[in-house]
């Protein structure tokens, strides 16, 4: 017998649909870091920057990593790098607001919903503006961890010292030959 006894596929076949739906390719690869809207506006269109900041803020509130205590959050993101978010309960639906948002003095914001406690999220230390991204999918919050590494979502994008961002990963150093041979595959 010179043939395989049995063949099983775990990624291809029916599973492949699920796999591509999970999206290998959803992470913004090319892009640029901006500390705030003003820094963005010095390089990009002002409207783009305003929309990007709003979008990044929105994502920050929805998707920032959450911790039960300030200590746990600061362990990951460093001292004074975390803020509380109020976790409120309204008709069975969890909602969050930041007490410090838009309040220079940091005074807690009064809300009418009953208070059930706080959780802690890292401060948004700027945003990542994706290159060639579609509107509504162009900006994501950037977080700095305790080691000074900057992340956009799950993607490591560089290092941050204060507001100074260094993109220490360069990309695109492979793939040029295929590009020059327009659409040529690498197989043979």
């Amino acid at each position: 017998m010179k043939r395989s006894r049995s063949i099983r596929l775990v990624l291809l076949g029916a599973a492949a649909v699920t796999l591509s739906a999970c999206g290998d390719d959803d992470e913004p690869i090319g892009g640029q870091y901006f500390a705030d809207e003003a820094q963005c506006a010095s390089a990009e269109n002002g409207d783009t920057c305003r929309a990007a900041v709003a979008e990044a803020r929105g994502r920050h509130m929805l998707t920032a990593p959450r911790f039960a205590s300030r200590q746990q959050c600061e362990q990951e993101y460093g001292a004074a790098n975390c803020e509380p978010v109020e976790v409120a309960q309204a008709q069975g639906q969890a909602q969050t607001t930041t007490p410090s948002n838009g309040k220079p003095d940091g005074a807690p914001q009064q809300t009418s919903t009953p208070r059930t406690g706080f959780s802690f999220i890292p401060l948004m230390t700027g945003f990542w503006l994706a290159r060639n991204a579609a509107p509504g999918a162009m900006a994501s919050p950037v977080y700095r961890d305790a080691q000074g590494r900057a992340f956009s979502g799950r993607s490591y994008v560089g290092t941050l010292q204060g507001r100074n961002f260094t993109a220490d990963t360069t990309r695109g150093g492979f793939g040029g030959t295929a590009m020059a041979r327009s659409g040529s595959g690498g197989g043979s």
């Binding site: 017998m1 010179k2 043939r3 395989s4 006894r5 063949i7 099983r8 596929l9 775990v10 990624l11 291809l12 076949g13 029916a14 599973a15 492949a16 290998d24 390719d25 992470e27 690869i29 590494r149 992340f151 799950r154 993607s155 490591y156 994008v157 220490d168 990963t169 360069t170 990309r171 695109g172 150093g173 492979f174 793939g175 040029g176 030959t177 295929a178 590009m179 041979r181 659409g183 040529s184 595959g185 690498g186 197989g187 043979s188």
Partner: protein
Amino acid sequence: MERIAITPRSDWRRRAEGLGFAFHTIDGKPYWDETAAYLFTAAEIDEIEDATAELERCCMAAVEKVVRENLFAPFGMSEAAAALARASWQRGERNLYGRFDLRVAPGQPPKLYEYNADTPTALFEASVVQWEWLQTLFADDDQFNSIHEKLIDAWPRLGLGPVVHFTCVRDHDEDRGTTDYLRDTATQAGIEAPFLFVDEIGWNGRGFVDGEGRPIAALFKLYPWEWLMAEDFSRHIGPSGVRMIEPAWKMILSNKAILALLWHMFPDHPNLLPAYLEPGKIAGPAVAKPLLGREGEDVRVVTGAEAGRPGSYGAEGFVYQAAAPLPDFGGHYPVVGSWVVASQPAGIGIREDDQPITTNTSRFVPHLFR
């Protein structure tokens, strides 16, 4: 060996897609073709298997000679490329797979046309699709094909870490399909197998990283070594310590100058065709092949002292191989792709064309033996 007409399964498209075979039809024409099959005897299959094992041994001896005697110049390899190839060979880096393209004709020994040692494709259709075809139509017959099992066996023996990244070019169904199939086999071998496109690979000053900043410790690349070596990041390959699959020494075997070296080392070997790096040494017609040509491009028949003419390939030089036309099975010209996995013969896949030079428009036709 004969070509037999077969009634295609009415649901072959659905079945192919169910397997995840995304490129059964290319540019509107069927690439997977089950209107026919090649039928072999067991003795013919044994002969192909033995020839494959023998050719792989010859190739390993040739790499050893190139490294030991520093014979990189005829291959047109840069100093940097030679250094990577030499180091990977001396470290004993193991290889995963390769495909010998053989001339197989009834009553004649198999002859090597060329060795796709670096980035062979037509793997999934040989390993999985034709196996499934055999199971449904000829379950009592056999097929020279244990590629799938051998791949799963091979991964843990390559001495890579728990994570191997996989990469290929964008917008190419066939390359992506082949890469995903290999990821599948690696996953079954217990290896984590994330994918990224070749232009997404990052360099952070210390090592290669993926899109999430994770280090790339081992990289399977369906992307030719000579392309990598022409690109900016190639200078980081050595310092990064990344393990590459295929290893860098495969640059020697995927370069068609190897055909001339093999003929020089093993003259009159029954599985080799006469081959030289200079035109005019072969009595009768010869085929000029660019050393780094792909998919049959810029291959042409020459006579006498006529040299090859560079097109999109060929500036790097040519090898001149004695012309040995593909056998003619009623206007169909099959080339037998004989697979090695971890240097062991593992099975065959047949592509046929309606013209005697196989190009990337050829069709894959299944086989069986009894």
